[in-house]
């Protein structure tokens, strides 16, 4: 793999993460328990779509084969997506969706912070902008963790269950493969071991304040970054890509 290929693959991973998570978040629009929370969630999902658009456009330009953001988002198949397994998991109840958001954003925040210093100017500019958005998201999701964990007996029990269920998908975030290593070496990209320490510190702090218990690192699933997904991604893509697949290039 050349360093340019690694950069393209890395940018696409970031874009896929943002797109898949936003699609999951948008599924809850018109189904949130409170109007204000609904607006917040939809705003955050739109932030992620904005990031995905910039990242896909950047990847398409790096690639130089004329693929647009829409081509990359809607015309690739399941095995070509490189998003984390955590993000494609179904929303479940409010606590499940929250924990997914919290665990990812604690990671994404530090990843973006590091990427603001990478030597690819396009990517670092996107990271600067996305970082501000995600800082606010993380404030929101951390507060909810504390509210539910340190809330009632029922909310504590349910969000603890969500945390235990989601934990097995967190290991994948920190396993550096060829793409991560090439990005680190050639573009001053993030060192995932460093990111993991920061992530762990932030997650531990909030989990402790929420009076929750951090699950043990037992068995971790991975594969999303290599295109091996759980059974959920195919359904998500079928819904998300339907229109562009049925009417390629459609606009309104």
């Amino acid at each position: 793999m050349t360093s340019d290929e690694a950069l393209i693959a890395y940018t696409l991973r970031l874009a896929d993460n943002a797109l898949i998570l936003s699609q999951r978040m948008l599924e809850t629009v018109a189904a949130e328990p409170e109007l204000e929370e609904e607006l917040a969630n939809a705003n955050f999902a739109l932030d992620f779509i904005g990031q995905a658009r910039m990242l896909y456009t950047h990847a398409g330009e790096l690639e130089g084969q004329g693929r647009s953001e829409d081509d990359l988002a809607f015309m690739r198949d399941e095995h070509e997506f490189r998003s984390l397994l955590l993000l494609e998991q179904p929303n479940g109840h409010f606590g499940d969706a929250l924990v997914r958001q919290f665990l990812f954003e604690a990671f994404y925040l530090h990843l973006l912070e590091s990427l603001t210093r990478c030597t690819d100017q396009g990517l670092s500019a996107i990271a600067v902008r996305a970082l501000k958005e995600v800082q606010y998201h993380f404030r929101h999701s951390s507060q909810w963790m504390i509210r539910l964990g340190d809330g009632t007996e029922l909310s504590h029990e349910r969000v603890q269950g969500s945390l235990s269920d989601a934990w097995r998908y967190t290991g994948e975030m920190f396993v550096a493969d060829d793409v991560d290593l090439a990005m680190q070496k050639n573009f001053d990209g993030p060192d995932l071991a460093d990111i993991q320490k920061l992530w762990r510190r932030d997650v531990e702090k909030t989990v402790a304040e929420a009076t929750l218990t951090l699950p043990d690192d037992e068995w971790m699933v991975s594969g999303g970054k290599q295109g091996q997904h759980s059974e959920h991604l195919g359904f998500l893509l079928a819904e998300m890509q339907y229109l562009q697949r049925s009417f390629p290039g459609v606009t309104w």
Binding site: L35, E36, A40, N43, Y136, R139, R147
Partner: protein, 95 residues
């Protein structure tokens, strides 16, 4: 399970530095920090402000509509309290 409504908060936004906070509307929230977040997500999506205040609606002491006449009408016929008899010098913008 009974549906308990979250308390109501009033939202005040300062649109730019130097101006005062103005009432923008209200949000429901379970606690103060959530109220601040909800106000941000509901009322400042289009860059409406640089500062936010939220205050629980039940903390506001309001005048009673039944007392409107006693409270406000006595001021209506006292035109001498308005500074309309003065000439405003040219060049004064914010009076």
């Amino acid at each position: 399970m009974s549906k308990q409504e979250w308390p109501l908060y009033e939202v005040f936004i300062r649109t730019k530095s130097g101006l005062s906070h103005r009432h923008a509307g209200s949000v429901h929230a379970a606690d103060d920090q959530m109220a601040l977040g909800n106000a941000r997500d509901t009322y400042t999506r289009r860059s409406e402000g640089v500062s936010l205040w939220v205050v629980r609606s039940d903390s506001i002491v309001a005048s009673d509509p039944a007392e409107t006449s006693a409270f406000f009408e006595p001021a209506e016929d006292k035109i001498y309290r308005h500074p309309t008899f003065y000439k405003i010098p040219d060049g004064v913008e914010n009076l």
